[in-house]
Amino acid sequence: MNLKELLNRSGTYLAERLPVEKMNYASMVKKKEVPVHRLSWGYYMGGLALFFFMVQIVTGLMLLFYYQPTVSEAHASVEYITEHVPAGGLVRNIHSWASSLMIASVLVHLLTCFAMKAYAKPRELTWVTGVLLLGITFALGFTGYLLPWHQIAVNATKIGLETIEKVGDYLPGAMSDWPRQIKEIIQGEASVGQATLSRFFALHVIILPLAIFGVLGFHLLSVQLHGMSKGIDENPRRQEKFFPTFFLKDLRVWGVAFMVLFVLGLCLPFESLFPYPLFEPFDPKGSTPDGIKPEWYFFWIYYPLELLPLWVILLGSAILGGVLLATPWIFKNTSRKTLRIIAIAAGVYLVVMTVWGDAIYHLLKGQ
């Protein structure tokens, strides 16, 4: 196979995945249809994640008006927002609730797309960009957690970053020092401090959102170009117009989501779900408090990390990442029935680890 043939082939491949000839009003808006069947609710999840992302942008920008990213001011400014700024507590609360809801809907979106075989040709690249978006979303959660600079957050971040260093134990020779260097590049100095806060702030507020905009742009464009996937094996009973019928339904779901979010934000402080007092600023000289935990959306990997040797987790996450990225090719010929069973199993694992992870940990550790 010479170079010209290779170029030709990849050209054809890309043209199939990115049908730019469909980039017009008629096929993207007028003709697009959504199948109606028993799994149709899955079609709302991506839009819902998008909605929560938009909420995050707006509330995040609002928080930026008051937040100060320095080790001496960060905690005080968050406290100031919560206690003194009118509706500041509400805005911060909505930001934290929406972050959790965004991650939850992204995860459900992932599982439903998998169960509906939405990654099948020609939508492979849509899936891959979706996996990238999942990674960026988790990174946003991880970086955002540090910004209030309270005891739990700083210590949890420390632990999270030290885990990277531990990878060095499994690498031979000079390579064993690389993870430590990577860690120090991320945190900017020998231990978590001002440099880390500045870097996480930049990541959380500018770099990762910009990355999302880019990848999300491609993701949404290819969704619009290819239309909705069929989702089930048999032909759907009927189709409905994407615009305006499904779009209005989407808006309705968003409206309900906003109402739920607003009421949650008004009535239930996000912190009230935690068993520890959050409002202790980080004290570099104090001892580490008990009960350091990451946010709930990391429980699915946090508890196994606590229970199993690190190499098992490393191997597992490497396999998981690889499988996720290569799903369109690995599960190319799998039936939707099998996919649904795998998705349900994964969903059950996520729920069990998130809700009962602590109980399982204590059960197995015998404490």
């Binding site: 009118p86 500041g88 509400l90 632990i159 600023p281 000289k285 001892s287 580490t288």
Partner: protein
């Protein structure tokens, strides 16, 4: 005499006639209790006449009724100045809306041939009277301002005196002519109620609000086909209207709620001197802490020895935290032999700070993942940590600045001191030799 008739005789006559008349008509001529709809003959002008008319007049009538039936509630409401303002504005606006609608209806009634064919004298009388009555009402409202407020002490007691059969017209005889005419008009309407189409007020078809639209047609094949199309159109228009009302209402509420919160958010905290100074104090304290830490950092870069604590402050069971040359936490105990035990407090598992209290086995615990360390050897004893805690170089320095005993990691302590000398000493950590870094 004429007043007596107009304010006491006429009301009672009107009420008695209305009750008996309405009863008889409802009983003997049930199907005449209608508004004698003419939508069938003409529906375009009717839409722009009937709708504003009814919306306007219902709002106005409800205002009158509430003021009359719930005088206490009404008085409480109108005691708020801006509430009176709102009520008056809404009332006049609704009246003008009703007048506009009624004007359209009158125009339609006198210009359309089809409507003319079914118009009775009573119809004309009723519309003319209604028009006059509302004009009188608007004029009274604008000439004698804040009627919503002053009527509670005049008209309402008068009406109640009639209702309780103790008629007292002293409240109303002093009224200006404009308002007297409005009042007399009201009794005329009650009098006319059983004899005109006005009686449809008592037969409001509320169920129409929920009923699917019906279309009345001439029964021919062509008309039937048209009717199907018209029904579909009417149905979809109805759905659209319902949806639009819902969306507009919800969006409006949402916009009000959100913008209220957002505006205040950007406006910032109201200046409360006490809270502000407390906040300032807190910020200053944090800044001092940061400055202190920066000082530590500089000190560790520049000096070869750093004070941990006076020797007498060291405890065998409760360690003293300090910051070592790597800016990581360290712990200092007094060992069994009286010499200090100085060890890093940074857990070798994931870098948490270990606790400072010894348990009965001479171990400290890291709270993150429950690793135990023997502080004398530094070795981990149970838990996920694999590597020992780092030992830190130290020196005991007497008040003159002479190092009596020095301890370097991995070696035995060098030097001696008497207990008295020891008590006067202070514990320092010493900069590790460059090769060891």
């Amino acid at each position: 005499m004429i007043d007596l008739f107009l304010y006491i005789g006429l009301p009672y006559i009107a009420i008695i006639v209305a009750i008996i008349g309405c009863y008889r008509r409802a009983k003997y001529s049930k199907y005449s209790m209608t508004t004698r709809s003419s939508q069938f003959l003409e529906d375009k002008q009717l839409l722009w006449g009937s709708t504003p008319w009814h919306i306007g007049v219902i709002v106005v009538l409800l205002g009158h009724l509430i003021a009359f039936l719930l005088p206490q509630v009404w008085a409480a409401i109108v005691s708020v100045p801006w509430a009176v303002f709102v009520i008056e504005t809404v009332g006049v606006a609704a009246s003008i809306l009703a007048l506009a609608g009624l004007g359209t209806l009158i125009y339609r009634r006198v210009t359309s041939a089809r409507i003319q064919a079914v118009t009775t004298t009573a119809d004309l009388l009723v519309v003319a009277l209604l028009f006059a009555q509302i004009v009188l009402g608007v004029l009274s409202a604008t000439h004698f301002r804040y009627g919503a407020s002053w009527s509670t002490g005049t008209v309402v007691p008068y009406l109640w005196s009639l209702l309780t059969l103790q008629p007292d017209m002293t409240y109303v005889t002093g009224f200006p002519m404009l308002f007297k005419l409005h009042l007399i008009g009201a009794w005329l309407f009650i009098l006319l109620l059983p004899f005109t189409r006005l009686m449809h007020i008592l037969a409001v078809p509320f169920q129409y609000i929920w009923r699917r639209p019906q279309i009345v047609i001439w029964n021919t094949a062509r008309r039937r086909q048209q009717a199907v199309a018209a029904t579909v159109a009417a149905d979809s228009r109805r759905e659209f209207l319902k949806g639009a009302v819902g969306v507009t209402g919800a969006t409006g509420l949402l916009a009000i709620g959100v913008s209220n919160k957002a505006l205040n958010y950007f406006k910032g905290a109201a200046a409360d001197p006490e809270a502000e100074s407390a906040l300032l104090e807190k910020k200053l304290r944090r800044l001092e802490l940061t400055a202190e830490e920066r000082k530590y950092e500089l000190e560790r870069q520049r000096s070869s020895m750093i004070l941990v604590a006076p020797y007498k402050d060291l405890d065998p069971l409760k360690g003293k935290y300090f910051i070592d040359y790597k800016m990581a936490p360290g712990l200092a105990f007094r060992g069994k032999d009286g010499l200090p035990v100085v060890i890093s407090a940074k857990c070798t598992h994931l870098g948490c700070t270990v606790s400072s209290t010894l348990d009965e086995n001479g171990r400290v615990m890291c709270p993150c993942h429950v690793s135990f360390f023997n502080i004398f050897t530094g070795q981990p004893e149970g838990g996920p940590a694999k590597d020992p805690l780092r030992k830190i170089d130290w020196a005991l320095v007497d008040p003159t600045g002479k190092a009596l005993i020095t301890g370097v990691a991995g070696n035995k302590p060098e030097g001696t001191a008497t207990p008295e000398e020891l008590a006067a000493c202070s514990l320092f950590i010493t900069k590790p030799a460059p090769a060891a870094v």
